[in-house]
Amino acid sequence: MNASSHFVLLNNGQGLPWADIPEWPAEEFVHTAAAEIERGGRLCAWFGLPEGTALRLVAVVAYDADNALAVGRSQPFAGGYPSLTVSHPQAHLFEREVWEQHGVMPENHPWLKPVRQSAGAAPVNAPCFRVEGGEIHEVAVGPVHAGIIEPGHFRFQCQGETVLHLEIALGYQHRGIEQALAGGPHRATLSQIETVAGDTTIGHATAHATVIEALAGVEAPLRAQWLRAIALELERLANHAGDLGALANDVAFQPTAAACGKIRGDFLNLTALLCGNRFGRGLVRPGGCGWDLEPDRSRQLAERLRAAMAEVGRAADWLWDANSVLARFEGTGVVSAEQAAELGLVGPAARASGLVRDVRFDHPAGWHRFAQMPVAVWPDGDVQGRAQVRRLEIQRSGAFVEEQLDSPVDGPWLTEMPACAPNMLAVALVEGWRGEICHVVLTDDAGRLRRYKVVDPSFHNWTGLALALRGQAISDFPLCNKSFNLSYCGFDL
């Protein structure tokens, strides 16, 4: 990035008047966005905004190295625009989504098909990519799976046991969250946000609270920001511990699989100790937090955290001490750093491919402006790398929470929320345990929410999974899938 950036700059968790955002005709806008990405930007969000019968495109780009976000928009247009995907593949799902929602055609998009729903709001059943040949066989998995997991359809083109191509079709969990949020905030808004992806309740609720506070022009009290940071890391600990167990389970390595199921419960119970709900429902709300953490509960939290950290450390050691496990993890499902960057992967999946990409570090907002932690990066891009990043993040999150509990901030934990300012746009990024959660909100003339765009990390990362499977054994799919552990409902919204 340099001074010649055309998009308007802002920080994470900041709002700016809608009128201040520069606009271009559609074609020029795409070229400008491409130039921003080439300058080192990364596409965080790309969505359509209906203006009468026409449509505006809005793009949010993140400059990770410069701790800055940039926003630009197009003038209203109808019909089509030159596809950004052709030069920057990270836009491919965003453009398909805009096409599906608003009917504007990204010209020359290489693989234009619905993202979530076809005509009758039914899940995707568009034709999948096919490989022809006498030795090729096609395996269709889902949307009903053998385990208790979310619904999604996976289509493998295989030659023997080797996967040539995997196509992932989702949309079975589409609930219309963005549409429901428009016109708000309603009484149900917070509950809807908390269920965008139930295992990322704290992450999405924090992004929502931050963005609404930015629109209202207030900042949550420091103690609330401190509590949110603790809750966010507890959520990460629970899910990463569960993931290590699930990875062990997928290679039938029993010791870690059995231990981590229990340890995940221990971490969830810590969140329950914090706010009464294992998934953190009702803790984070615009204006602060729902509950305070009294000193004696804080002590109890620290004590139980130390015990759980010791256990999860042991369980992880078993995993890395077993050569039979490493033989399965190493070299399986490799995503190179170039591929990860080109696809715009986020979270542990990006960091395991050697990309230093962490919102807490790159775009600190809230408590992370005052308390930092190192970014966990691993260069290999394989299942072992993704597991290793989780292991490192468990250690660092545990240390972070302990440190924070030792030095609490005093003061109120909830403040009055004024109404949102009219015609403002605000962006909030939060590093959830799966990666970057992006909420972009625009208010209308009356200060109601005109457009609420949610980008779950899974939206960026599903394509990474498809790429990881290229040339892999089909029997390694569950292992690769678990190493990404993406959300179906977060993608389907």
Binding site: V139, E161, A257, S324, T332, S475
Partner: protein
């Protein structure tokens, strides 16, 4: 014991005791993981439940879909009845029954794989392909193991082959057969009996479309196969056939328990192999059996050389049998002294 009672007792051993083995393995796994685990008799409960259920049949399948598991079960039970149980010998024993034993196992596999392919499902096709490609290597190992015993004893009847220990190569042979047991019964590290992931299964995926009594027959057949390989392993390694009935029965039960615990420990402490690595391990099992074969062949030729022309080679066969039948009184005589 009259012959009729003997047959009934054998049938009971195979029919009633077989489902206990997976129960023991699961208990061991649960114990290592610090869980309580399913009840020891869980498979019996499952079988009873499945037997009471109806059958859901795909419209795409032929009668072979149901006939396959039935034939496979009969083949496995017949193979089990060919296997001697310590000094009691086998119910059915004739020259060359070892070959029939191998073919019965192959027939069972063919029928299970055929019933799986019959559904036309991509998963079951993959499972059948994997099962059959593993079989190429594991069958080679089993045949080599039987060949070792045949060279050792000069007989082609399982009763005579398994009565004495496998001689100098017994430990190597037992190791090879243990790996084959894990592969043939789809245990870790070859397969994961607990997985719910269709794409990684071998045996489990072949039975995905079976339900009710046919599934019960498959599950029972699988437990019989497990007990069968365990019994084969124990008797190949230990000279149970030359012991008096009481201690032999006791040792058989203890060793079978040992094998089950061993399988449970392997499953508790090892991760699964990647499919590409499976041939390596199976080839290792084959080579172990091959070493046992070479050892016993070497031993038999050198003993022949020692004995010189006094004992013509063609008499060795009956000679060994005579020695075998004479061994029992000799053993008990030794105990008395």
């Amino acid at each position: 014991m009259s012959h009729g009672l003997d047959v009934l007792a054998r049938l009971a051993f195979w029919l009633v005791l077989a489902p206990l083995v997976p129960g023991i393995i699961n208990k061991v796994k649960a114990w290592v993981a610090g869980r309580r685990g399913p009840p020891l008799f869980q498979l019996y409960f499952d079988l009873a439940k499945l037997w009471r259920k109806g059958v859901v049949l795909s419209t795409a399948v032929s009668p072979g879909h149901v006939a396959g598991p039935a034939i496979a079960w009969v083949a496995l039970m017949s193979a089990a009845l060919l296997l001697p149980l310590g000094p009691a010998g086998a119910i059915l024993s004739f020259r060359g029954d070892a070959l029939l034993f191998v073919y019965l196992l192959a027939l069972a596999r063919f029928c299970t794989a055929g019933a799986a392919l019959d559904t036309g499902s991509a998963f079951e096709g993959m499972g059948a392909a994997r099962e059959v490609s593993y079989a190429i290597l594991s069958e080679a190992a089993v045949i080599t193991a039987l060949l070792t015993l045949a060279v050792q004893t000069g007989s082609l009847s399982l009763g005579a082959m398994l009565a004495p220990a496998a001689g100098p190569g017994a430990a190597v042979l037992a190791a090879g057969l243990f790996v084959v047991l894990l592969a043939e019964n789809c245990r870790v590290p070859f397969d994961d009996p607990n997985t719910h992931l269709e794409l990684t299964m071998v045996h489990e995926v072949m039975v995905l479309d079976h339900s009710g009594p046919p599934l019960a027959v498959i599950l029972h057949g699988a437990s019989v196969k497990l007990l069968l390989f365990a019994t084969l392993l124990v008797q190949a390694a230990l000279p149970l056939g030359q012991w008096p009935a009481g201690p032999a029965a006791g040792l058989l039960v203890i060793s079978l328990l040992g094998v089950a615990v061993g399988v449970g420990l392997v499953e508790s402490l090892l991760a699964r192999l990647a499919f590409q690595r499976v041939p390596l391990l199976l080839t290792t099992a084959f080579i172990l059996c091959l070493f046992a074969l070479l050892t016993s062949w070497k031993a038999s030729t050198s003993s022949e050389a020692r004995q010189g022309a006094m004992n013509p080679a063609e008499c060795r066969c009956s000679g060994t049998r005579a020695a075998h039948s004479a061994a029992l009184p000799g053993e008990s005589g030794g105990k008395r002294a």
